[in-house]
C-alpha cells in the first residue's frame, strides 16, 4: 500500500491540475461570450448583403447566370476541401472531428476518381494534415481564436482565384457549426459553385416577416454602375461572408468545447481528490492500528 506521504504528494499535484483546468474553463467562458457577440454582429451585415444581392439579381435579369462563380465546371476533377480548426487543443474532440470528417470526404473523392486539394485554417488542422502526409495547398493560422473579416477574405480570395482560373472545380467547407455552448456539430457545405437559388432564391421565413415585399411598382432605383457590375462584386462577398461565418462559429464552438472539456477535467480531478483522500485516511489508520498492535504486543511481552 502506498505510504501517506506518496498519497499526499499525489493529492497536491491533482489539486494543482484542477486549478489550471478551472482557470482555463473561466477564460474559455469569457472568450465564448465575445465570440458569440461576433456571430451576432455579422447578422445584420449578412442580411443586408443578401437583400442587395437579390435586388441586383432581379435588376440584372439573365445576366446573373453567366458569372464565373455561379458556373459549374464541366468536369469535376479537383475538389478543394477547406477544414476549419482551432489553433490550440485542450478542447476535447473539437479539432479531431473536423479532421476525421475531412479525411473521410477525401476518401470518398478518391473512390470516385477525383482528387482532393487541401486547404486548412488553424494550426491544429494544418499540422495534423501535414503529419498524415497530405500536401496542404493553403494554410492559414494565427487567427482561429479571433478571426477578422480580412482573414476570411484572404482565404476566400485564394479559393475563388483557384476556381476562376480553373485549378479547382469545386470547394467544400468542413467546420464545427455552433449550436450552443454545449454542442457543436460538424457541418459540410458546398461553397463553390454557388447555387443560383442561394442568390436569387426566395427569402426565408424570418426575412419575409421582417420585410414585407411591396406589391405595387417599386421605386426606380439608380444603379451606379449597372446592376450586373454590382452583382459581379456582390457574389464574391457571399463567399467571403460564408467563410467568415464558419470562422466565427468555429471560434465560438472551440471555446464552448474547451469550456466543456475543462469542466469535466475539473470534475474528474475533484473525484480523484476524494478517492485519494480516502486512500490517505485508510493508510493513516492502518499505520495507527499497526502501532497500537505493536505497543500492545510489547506490553504483553513484559508481563
Amino acid at each position: 500500500m502506498a505510504s501517506q506521504r506518496d498519497v499526499r504528494n499525489r493529492i497536491s499535484s491533482v489539486k494543482n491540475i484542477q486549478k489550471i483546468t478551472r482557470a482555463l474553463e473561466t477564460v474559455a467562458g469569457a472568450r465564448l461570450r465575445r465570440a458569440e457577440q461576433r456571430i451576432e454582429a455579422l447578422r445584420p451585415y449578412a442580411e443586408a448583403i443578401r437583400r442587395m444581392t437579390r435586388q441586383a439579381a432581379e435588376a440584372a435579369g439573365a445576366e446573373a447566370t453567366r458569372l464565373p462563380l455561379l458556373t459549374e465546371h464541366e468536369s469535376e476533377k479537383n475538389v478543394a476541401l477547406l477544414l476549419i480548426t482551432g489553433d490550440r487543443g485542450l478542447a476535447g474532440a473539437f479539432n479531431s472531428q473536423v479532421i476525421r470528417a475531412g479525411v473521410r470526404a477525401a476518401a470518398e473523392l478518391t473512390d470516385s476518381q477525383r482528387s482532393p486539394v487541401w486547404y486548412a485554417t488553424g494550426r491544429r488542422g494544418v499540422s495534423s494534415l501535414t503529419f498524415r502526409g497530405y500536401d496542404v495547398k493553403g494554410s492559414y493560422t494565427g487567427f482561429a481564436d479571433r478571426p477578422g473579416y480580412a482573414d476570411a477574405r484572404s482565404v476566400a480570395d485564394d479559393l475563388m482565384t483557384g476556381y476562376i482560373d480553373g485549378q479547382i472545380d469545386r470547394v467544400e467547407l468542413i467546420f464545427n457549426g455552433y449550436i450552443s455552448p454545449l454542442s457543436q456539430r460538424v457541418r459540410r457545405e458546398t461553397l463553390l459553385p454557388l447555387s443560383q437559388a442561394t442568390v436569387t432564391g426566395v427569402p426565408d421565413d424570418a426575412e419575409r416577416d421582417a420585410e414585407p415585399e411591396p406589391d405595387g411598382p417599386q421605386a426606380l432605383v439608380e444603379y451606379e454602375p449597372g446592376p450586373e457590375e454590382i452583382l459581379r462584386r456582390l457574389i464574391p462577398d457571399y463567399i467571403e461572408i460564408s467563410i467568415y461565418r464558419a470562422l466565427v462559429e468555429s471560434a465560438a464552438g472551440f471555446f464552448g468545447a474547451q469550456m466543456t472539456a475543462m469542466r469535466s477535467a475539473s470534475d474528474n480531478a475533484g473525484e480523484l481528490i476524494t478517492d485519494l483522500t480516502l486512500q490517505m485516511n485508510r493508510a493513516r489508520q492502518a499505520e495507527i492500528t499497526q502501532e497500537i498492535m505493536e505497543v500492545v504486543a510489547g506490553a504483553e511481552g513484559l508481563t
Binding site: 454582429a41 455579422l42 432605383v221 451606379e224 454602375p225
Partner: protein, 135 residues
C-alpha cells in the same frame, strides 16, 4: 444654414460602426465621387476604397477609411455596407505598408489577365486608399 438630416448607418461584418442622423454623406463609387443629401433619389452604388465622410453638421465630420462596399439610399435612409471601416487614428501604417508591398509583389508574379492579378490589384487600390486617408 442647417440642412435637413437623415439617418445613416455604417455596417461592417464585424459590427455596426456608426448609426446617427447626418446632414450629408460623401464617399467614392465605382463611377466617381458621390455626395448624399436628404431626399436623394433611391440609389444602389458600389463603393471603392476611399475616405467615407459623415457630416453631422458642416463642422462636425466623422471620417473613416473605408474598404470596398455598397451604398444603398432608399426611403430617406442611407445604409453603407463596407468590408472594413477604420477610424483614421486607428490605422496601422506599418502593417498596411507591408500588405501593400505584398500585394504589389503578388501583382508582379501573377499571370497577365488572371483572376489572381485582378485581386492583387484590388488589394493595392485598397491599401493605397487607406494610406491616403491616414495622411
Amino acid at each position: 444654414m442647417a440642412r435637413t438630416s437623415f439617418p445613416a448607418e455604417v455596417l461592417t461584418p464585424e459590427g455596426e460602426v456608426f448609426s446617427e442622423e447626418v446632414e450629408m454623406l460623401s464617399t467614392r463609387t465605382a463611377v466617381g465621387s458621390i455626395g448624399i443629401l436628404a431626399n436623394h433619389e433611391p440609389v444602389l452604388a458600389m463603393l471603392e476604397p476611399a475616405e467615407l465622410r459623415l457630416y453631422r453638421s458642416d463642422s462636425d465630420i466623422v471620417r473613416f477609411a473605408q474598404a470596398e462596399g455598397y451604398l444603398q439610399f432608399s426611403e430617406n435612409r442611407a445604409l453603407v455596407l463596407v468590408e472594413e471601416a477604420i477610424a483614421p487614428d486607428a490605422l496601422d501604417r506599418p502593417t498596411i505598408e507591408t500588405k501593400l508591398s505584398e500585394a504589389r509583389a503578388g501583382a508582379e508574379r501573377a499571370d497577365e489577365g488572371s483572376e489572381e492579378q485582378a485581386r492583387a490589384e484590388r488589394d493595392i487600390r485598397r491599401y493605397e486608399a487607406f494610406l491616403a486617408v491616414g495622411g
